[in-house]
């Protein structure tokens, strides 16, 4: 047996390990940026004037987006799916935050092309890199969004914002209805979808609690 058998393989594997290590470091940068947005989102829960905070959040998301662009540019050609497990969960979190800010701002569900505009608001010259958002990442992001909104709904009731709970419950039940149109396979996304109904249930309970006490105008 030639020893070149393994030295060749060793070269492949070494290269892959080096690449993975480098991407992991970039991913940590993304994570740090995502955490910054998470702090801002947390402050929204009890903020009386929501619109005052949105600008900062939009800006923080652009930071996140530029980190992700840096990361994705470093992925070798055609090997996106070899490594994308590394950043899927932080990207889904960025998607959730993007959708949240768009919901608070425009009261609408952002799709992937809207998210791209949020992430890269400056007029992109032709072919400038944008964050690549996979369908699955987007959908997991929506699951995160619903769970964030159900928490936020509870918290905003405690500062007397009852209207928020009503709107959020309506918005999330539409997302849930939308998810019912999808065929899943038995994977992570399906499990997340299974969890979504509990978040929506919580949102509806909050609405029930405030309406039965006559707190809605």
């Amino acid at each position: 047996m030639e020893s070149s058998l393994f030295s060749q393989l060793n070269k492949y594997l070494e290269e892959e390990a080096r690449c993975r290590e480098m991407l992991r470091e970039c991913r940590d940068q993304c994570d740090a940026a995502v955490r910054t947005t998470a702090v801002l989102v947390e402050s929204l829960h009890k903020e009386r004037d929501l619109s005052s905070k949105l600008k900062a959040l939009y800006e923080a998301l652009q930071e996140v987006a530029s980190e992700f662009v840096q990361l994705q540019l470093k992925v070798p050609l055609h090997e996106y799916y070899k490594y994308n497990e590394l950043w899927r969960s932080s990207l889904a979190q960025a998607v959730a935050t993007g959708c949240l800010v768009y919901y608070l701002d425009c009261n609408q569900l952002a799709d992937i092309s809207v998210l791209e505009k949020i992430f890269h608001p400056k007029k992109q010259e032709e072919g400038a890199p944008v964050v690549r958002i996979e369908l699955e990442d987007y959908l997991v992001g929506l699951c995160n969004l619903v769970s964030e909104l159900s928490r936020m709904s509870v918290n905003r009731v405690t500062i007397g914002d009852f209207e928020f709970a009503v709107q959020a419950a309506k918005f999330c039940s539409e997302i849930l209805a939308g998810f019912r149109l999808l065929n899943f396979r038995n994977d992570y996304l399906r499990r997340r979808f299974d969890g979504m109904k509990y978040d929506v249930k919580k949102l509806e309970e909050v609405v029930y609690d405030i309406s039965i006490r006559g707190l809605l105008k």
Binding site: M1, Y12, E79, L109, L135, E174, L181, L182
Partner: protein, 238 residues
Amino acid sequence: MLKQSSASYLFQKLSEDLSFLIEKRERLVKASRDVTYQSKKVIYLLHRAVDEEPLSVFSKAEEQLHTIRKLICDLILSELSLENYYRFHEVFTTALQEYTEARLFCAYLKENRIMTLDELNAEIAHQSEQPTEGLREETTQQFITSISPKDYILGLVDSSGELMRHCINCASRNETDKAFQVECVLRQLSTEIKFVGVYLSRWNDNLDNKLEAIRANLGKVENACYQLYIRGMEFRQH
């Protein structure tokens, strides 16, 4: 206000995209099962080479391997763009491992050597170049890397089990030379695979178990050879 129609329109669109991916995955799952099953059959066939006329067994095995390569090209690789290879890799990796195992075992029995990853891939690439209708340039390029290093290594580890079985077969028939040859190859394999072991342990599909399996196989082969040797000495003395 949120426009009801826009959200449900969005999800209808997403539903199509998601179903497209899921259906592709299902087709790959089916094809992989096929490839795995056919490869297993080749391995069993090859084990019979000690009982039957070896040359006819080899030509039959090679014919079947050819058919499996066709399955790999037509049913798996044709579904994949260059980028999608790694997207669905987990679906068909076991199939490629099983094929690798069968191909390596066949080459060892026939030519007494371990084929390299590049040789295996060149063989598949060669097959895909034979004119099948409507082959795009993009897919032909893909065929060059149809078996990944990881598939190859895992297939190689599995084929060590087949080599062990083959060695025991030879030993039980007193085919001393063949048995000792296998022992030699397995030892080399078990030693050299340690070089890539650093990277192997980072893949979390119980590779440590697999490496342990090579060692266990080597142990069995060494014992069989020891028995053969001892018995051989006995005969010579009396």
